[in-house]
Symmetry: C2
């Protein structure tokens, strides 16, 4: 068709793709929204824990990238055929593993809007709305948690959205480290000591590793069942005193509100008092349980926070905000900024020079940052404080119901008191019997419960994970997936009983 | 309506929100897709650099979170009214600042799918598809870049998706640090030295700060205009030798392919030879220019990479993948894993025990990780290698055109040779005249060009940023926004000329 004369001059641009054509964006965007709506509709039917074998996907994919373009319809077909079977469905109503990754329409749409704008918000200038919305939402959320005003921008502190708790701990640890080294001299870096308990998340140890803390100066202070696996002030003090006697320098303490293994709570008040005596920076990690502290009846778990230096929780766990979104507040942003700021020529700008603006690049590890505040803003506005509280309480209620069901079956026991919406339970040793020569009753129980959990998870019907606390192997039942209703909890209990029956019969 | 008897029992769950209702998800999802499609349609009309004043959003927002739910329609109205004016439009076709954040339909949809699945992919088990797709796509991309096979999984190395280059550098630096400390003893941490040039991105300095490297052991080796602001092997060697003489221990070198200020290229081959002599870990940062090395005619910029230890580039810059997506390859994943792994009881699982699987949590700072490989996979499949090359070349061609336009106006000069799609230019000192008593011609030129740039950016018509290289203030014109066509480049040049005319007349 058409002679050469009628063709537009090429100029080297003919045939170039239009990767952001608005109407094609609209068409493909609607396709993917429908794909995901259908996914949520059917997610209950998939095995919760993926049942694929290592290497499954390599067999289904070419070794090299395609040379030519492929239509979105083909790609979505492959997502359904090849990717979905390899997904462990964190959004399934039958997902009770680890801690929840509670998705929501509002959290999803906030991420989608941010992805659409695709700004790189390292400083105020690079998109003022991203920085300003973040400062506003972090003050909103700080007030919802009834944080002391020193943690809010309005009170001289401030909040920042990190990706994960690992980053929040690393940033505050580096701030604390540099503050201390300024006092005692950099040559003493190998004397710095970091404190947690044997229940503290591995994020603390990893942050210490990255920050160059001497690995032999990482203290996982022992906890006991008698103290419900909370870190006691006495145990902390004894450890610190011994370190000080050895000439070491106490630096950083990370108490937890809702530990990963059993949702234990470290007593903030007494721990902060000890820390204060020794000039230790206290970072409070409420990754899981922070969310429910917006309910007044749970706020007491944060009592003592007024004496801490920094506080974080993960909105992507149990606050309807998609991964990743860790909310970190500090009383002294200056300490963070001193440790993390750089100001190369190519980032200089009028707004930063006036010091009237927040440049979040200096509050975190990375320079580039996504527009994360949008999703938190959408979650809070779409649901409102009242509904968020109601929703979190509904999970606690479901966990209570599950606990009640356990209580009606004498073969099972709840191993530690439930604080939030996670239940740690097992088949008790009495049931299994200790008629072995070598192994103790407890060992036998641990083995049996591990077998039971694997048989449940292999079925794909529900997914739970485990922990070992005080030497006891427990199954963890964490309620919090957004699609979970009470009927799923009741059904989950039936699944547990059926698998227990089968295993007890066969053994 | 209805008597109490007819109501379903409450059980404490009545009135709870349904945050993942599939049909409501569908409805709201379509609304947001349309919102964004309309945004792309109109983005050209917005001032590129946001024109709001610091604090603008605080005046428009309540001080506290809303107690009750608000409809998505109201929220989207506020996004348009309050957020869009505060956005600096990185997706505008008239955006030529920093480096591009090249969005695309495929990159967007990949992020959307990943957000929808909302898995927390710390290890293989937590969603096998996320890990396996990442290993496959990283090998695809490694082959597209013609990386030596030692960097690929198929050759004993491997790739991982980090958020940003800051994380990639920090992870490899920590791996190098721990490897070296194992040899020389942890008490020598303050002797470790990190090397870059005065053109290296501030990410290196920040990573060194975080990793606990003595700040006085950070070397920004001087570059010169004569060497096109590349780091020379001679200058590196001289610096290293002086450090070794002082009893310090050379640790880490970060050469750049495409520096931020002027897209200068450090000569990998000669630098790696020097590094090898001293046992230095070499991490190659090709954050910006890595993308175009998928075109055979640009691959020579990576010559020498076979002697480096690790390599990274940002797919979120110039590879149509939305923020954040930094591709990192290492020859020795074991070094990374040794420095970054933790394996607490609650993450133990059968697949990890067999060591048949990759657990990416041990390749990065954070435990939790998003399903980032989906977007890279969608970009590569949706466009194919051929179109990706063509598209990147079209940006180079536009930058060349811009250079040509500069060449036709004798008042202007291109300050450094253009390597890729970024042009560094200014009004030359001759034009401005040096008729000042105190300031030199060069100082006057610097001031004038700074004023010119600010007047251009204030107009909102186009957005460029600046750099100072070898004492010379330059305007940077970086082509790469996905909506930019040659007509926008031609228009941008007119805008520059008009503002120059006005300023030259008035001064």
């Amino acid at each position: 068709m058409g002679s050469l004369q009628n063709q537009k001059p090429d100029n080297g641009f003919a045939g170039t793709i239009k990767p952001l054509d608005p109407e094609e964006f609209r068409r493909q965007g609607h396709l993917v929204i429908d794909f995901l709506a259908d996914y949520y509709k059917s997610v209950e039917r998939y095995p919760v824990r993926s049942q694929v074998e290592p290497g499954y996907l390599k067999k289904r994919m070419p070794d090299s990238a395609p040379y030519d373009a492929e239509p979105i319809e083909d790609i979505l077909r492959d997502v359904q055929k090849d990717i979905v079977p390899g997904i462990t469905h964190w959004q399934s109503p039958n997902y009770f593993a680890y801690f929840p990754a509670s998705g929501s329409i509002a959290g999803f749409l906030g991420e989608v809007l941010g992805t659409g704008f695709n700004i790189v918000g390292f400083n105020w200038m690079s998109s003022p709305a991203a920085t300003e919305l973040e400062t506003i939402v972090m003050d909103w959320l700080g007030k919802m948690l009834n944080l002391p005003s020193e943690f809010l921008f309005s009170g001289g502190g401030g909040g920042v959205l990190q990706g994960t708790t690992c980053e929040a701990i690393l940033c505050t640890l580096v701030a604390a480290r540099d503050q201390m080294l300024k006092k005692i001299g950099r040559e003493n870096i190998n004397k710095l000591v970091v404190y947690g308990s044997d229940q503290t998340h591995s994020a603390l140890q990893k942050a210490a590793q990255i920050a160059g803390i001497n690995p032999s100066n990482f203290r996982a202070v022992a906890t006991t069942r008698a103290d419900a696996f909370g870190l006691t002030a006495d145990a902390l003090r004894a450890t610190i005193e011994s370190d000080v006697e050895s000439g070491l320098v106490p630096l950083f303490l990370c108490p937890t509100i809702g530990t990963t293994s059993s949702t234990a709570v470290d007593p903030l008040g007494p721990l902060c008092d000890v820390a204060e005596e020794y000039g230790i920076w206290v970072h409070v990690d409420a990754a899981y349980a922070g969310s429910i502290c917006i309910c007044p009846e749970y706020r007491h778990f944060l009592d003592g926070i007024e004496k801490a230096h920094s506080f974080s929780f993960n909105a992507h766990k149990w606050f309807l905000t998609t991964l990743d979104c860790c909310c970190l507040w500090v009383k002294d942003p200056g300490a963070l900024i001193k440790a993390l700021s750089t100001y190369p020529e190519y980032l200089r700008n009028k707004a930063s020079e006036t010091k009237q603006v927040v440049d979040y690049k200096d509050w975190q590890i990375t320079l580039s940052r996504r527009f994360r505040s949008l999703k938190l803003w959408l979650v809070i506005r779409s649901y409102g404080v009242a509904n968020l509280r109601k929703f979190l309480r509904s999970h606690v209620k479901m966990a209570k119901n599950f606990e009640g069901l356990i209580g009606m079956d004498k073969r099972f026991e709840v191993v530690v008191p439930r604080n939030f919406a996670t239940v740690c339970f097992r088949i008790s040793p009495i049931e299994i019997g200790g008629n072995h020569q070598i192994v103790t009753k407890e060992d036998a129980a641990n083995n049996f419960n591990a077998k039971l959990l694997e048989s449940i998870n292999e079925s794909g019907k529900i997914y739970m994970t485990h922990a070992v606390i005080g030497g006891v192997y427990v199954m963890r039942f964490a309620v919090g997936a957004s699609l979970t209703e009470n009927k799923h909890v009741i059904w989950a209990w039936k699944v547990v009983q059926e698998h227990a029956n089968a295993l007890l019969t066969s053994s």
